[in-house]
Amino acid sequence: MSANGTPFIQLSGVSKIYRRGAESVPVLDQVDLEVPEGAFEAIMGPSGSGKTTLLNLISGIDRSSAGRVVVGGLDLTKRSEDALADWRSKHVGFIFQFYNLVAVLTAFQNVELPLLLVRLSAQERRKRVDTALELVGLADRRDHFPRQLSGGQEQRVGIARAIVTDPALIVADEPTGDLDRDSADHILALLKRLNQELNKTIVMVTHDPAAAQTAQLIRRIDKGKLITDGAPATGAAAAGTAAAKMAGQRA
């Protein structure tokens, strides 16, 4: 809950139906969900269950067919495309399964991308990008192109890009789905730090039970319905210098 007791993310009676010609394909069916501010929740479910669609609605890149989606007090269902884009640029960090880095840009330039939408001096942009790269442990790889990085390093660049604008919400779609166990553990530890040290609200979709255990709460979805609220996971990561800097910048 936020300071005033309202959930940070609140979905009420949300349904999503895709249309393929004359055929209607229901993906989400009357979903109700409340996620408090600063939570780290995992959503699990089989392929086609609707978990990514749920994440898309929460992050404002898709619209529900029915119901309300309110995030940080903002009703996303009533916003225009441009208003949603502006909102995402300030308040949402995205982490993708396949990293989605721009291949022709360096790690620094990739992380800088969201800041190009904000009125900042070049010096301030550089400072923020360096801090984000330091936080994910890639300060020495700032001038490397994605092809020169391992999968785990690429995903860390993706995380740096997600946090560089200091968003309140981070959505992660299978963030470890393309990584080996060691790299995945590294990424999950990083997400945990972001949640615990910087108080980021994180919603993560995953197939991986081990990854889901990193979250404080596991939710299960099947055939478009949220069916189970899982047990909270345990564990916390140590605080770091870079995290402290990030918190300082936000303040």
Partner: protein
């Protein structure tokens, strides 16, 4: 407002993501625009020559029955008696060659009054006086003199085809043109030198009030040499009209070239936009608006088009010189093809417009992509 320098860097990086394709696209735009420039320069040069060459008081008399029938020089005396007529000169086409049969240029045997009728051939008075005094003298245009490295006093030997044999001439004067459209690649020699008896004339050139043309033709209407007298301007225009089909064909070719430019660039940009789907979807997800993507694709297209335009403009002067030389070798005469400001403006403006048309569809489609579908497609 977004910072322009990093976005410019992003455009640059995206444009150079596939350097081979970008190079081919730039070459495609450059070559098609170069072809457009050459064709437009041909058309522009043609109209310049055929509309500015003459003044309305310059008349040309020819045989009414056939352009190949000759007039008689003695007719000039009768023409001079008509009110409004100021000067008359006989004129023969010498039609010789210099050293090589392929080396042809305009050679006219004329009388002294010819240069009062056509004052656009400007030479220093002392050179003109030397030319008039020497019956074997020649007056040549500066372009011709430069081309063959002739200097005053040089001996130029022409080989006649109508007037057989070798004709050694002394270069006495070199003229420049009054305007850019004046033909500066002609050689003038004395009528009396070519036709000492002074009997016939291919044309009679007249300086007169344009209304005198009818009086001239009336004077010879019932003789064995009926005439047709027109202003030089209208003769040139009729030639231009005759050749309008060729000009139309060139214009159609130029339009087709623009279409090719649109297709080349449109295809390249469609491929680039397709390849960039992942980037655009990601950018849209992290907060870029539709118009940002639209601007990125358009900027990338204009970057490629801009390089093509620079390439075309850089090689156009040398290409036009080579083209002019080729035409001289193939068709004879001297071709003057210059890239003028109007043609450059038209070509650049048209290329930018074509680029806008070519990029607008991929840019619009990229900006309108549905983020969720695009992300799902590339996953």
């Amino acid at each position: 407002m977004t910072p322009s320098r990093p976005l410019g860097r992003l455009v640059l990086r995206l444009a150079l993501r596939n350097r081979g394709r970008t190079l081919i696209s730039v070459l495609g735009v450059g070559v098609t625009l170069l072809a457009f420039l050459v064709l437009r320069t041909l058309v522009t040069s043609w109209y310049t020559v055929n509309t500015d060459i003459s003044k309305s008081d310059q008349l040309e008399m020819r045989h009414k029955i056939s352009i190949s029938f000759v007039l008689w020089r003695r007719m000039a005396d009768k023409v001079r008696s008509i009110p409004g007529v100021q000067q008359v000169s006989a004129m023969l086409w010498f039609s010789g060659y210099y050293k090589d049969e392929k080396t042809r240029f305009g050679q006219l045997a004329v009388e002294e009054p010819y240069f009062e009728i056509f004052p656009e051939y400007l030479a220093p008075p002392e050179q003109m006086a030397a030319y008039f005094e020497d019956m074997s003298g020649a007056l040549v245009g500066e372009e011709l003199a430069n081309k063959y490295g002739w200097k005053l006093g040089d001996r130029i030997t022409l080989t006649g085809t109508i007037y057989q044999g070798d004709w050694p001439l002394n270069l006495r004067a070199i003229y420049r043109g009054e305007s850019k459209s004046t033909d500066r690649a002609r050689l003038f020699l004395h009528y009396k030198h070519v036709a000492p008896e002074g009997e016939h004339s291919h044309r009679l050139m007249v300086k007169a009030d344009p209304t005198a043309a009818k009086k001239i033709d009336a004077l010879f209407a019932n003789t064995d040499t009926p005439t047709k007298t027109e202003s030089v301007l209208s003769v040139e225009r009729s030639w231009a009209s005759w050749s309008s089909a060729v000009i139309s064909a060139i214009n159609i070719a130029a339009a087709l070239i623009l279409l090719i430019l649109i297709l080349v660039l449109g295809n390249a940009m469609a491929m680039a936009a397709r390849e960039s789907l992942r980037e655009y979807a990601t950018l849209r997800a992290i907060g870029y608006r539709s118009r940002h993507i639209l601007a990125l694709v358009l900027a990338e297209g204009f970057f490629v088009a801009g390089l093509g335009i620079v390439l075309a403009l850089a090689v156009a002067p040398a290409t036009l010189r080579a083209f002019a030389k080729l035409m001289e070798e193939q068709l004879g005469g001297t071709w003057q093809l210059y890239l003028d400001g109007g043609t450059v403006t038209l070509a650049v403006g048209t290329a930018l417009l074509a680029s806008l048309i070519a990029c607008s569809v991929p840019a619009w489609r990229s900006s309108r992509l549905r983020v969720v579908e695009a992300l799902r497609e590339i996953a």
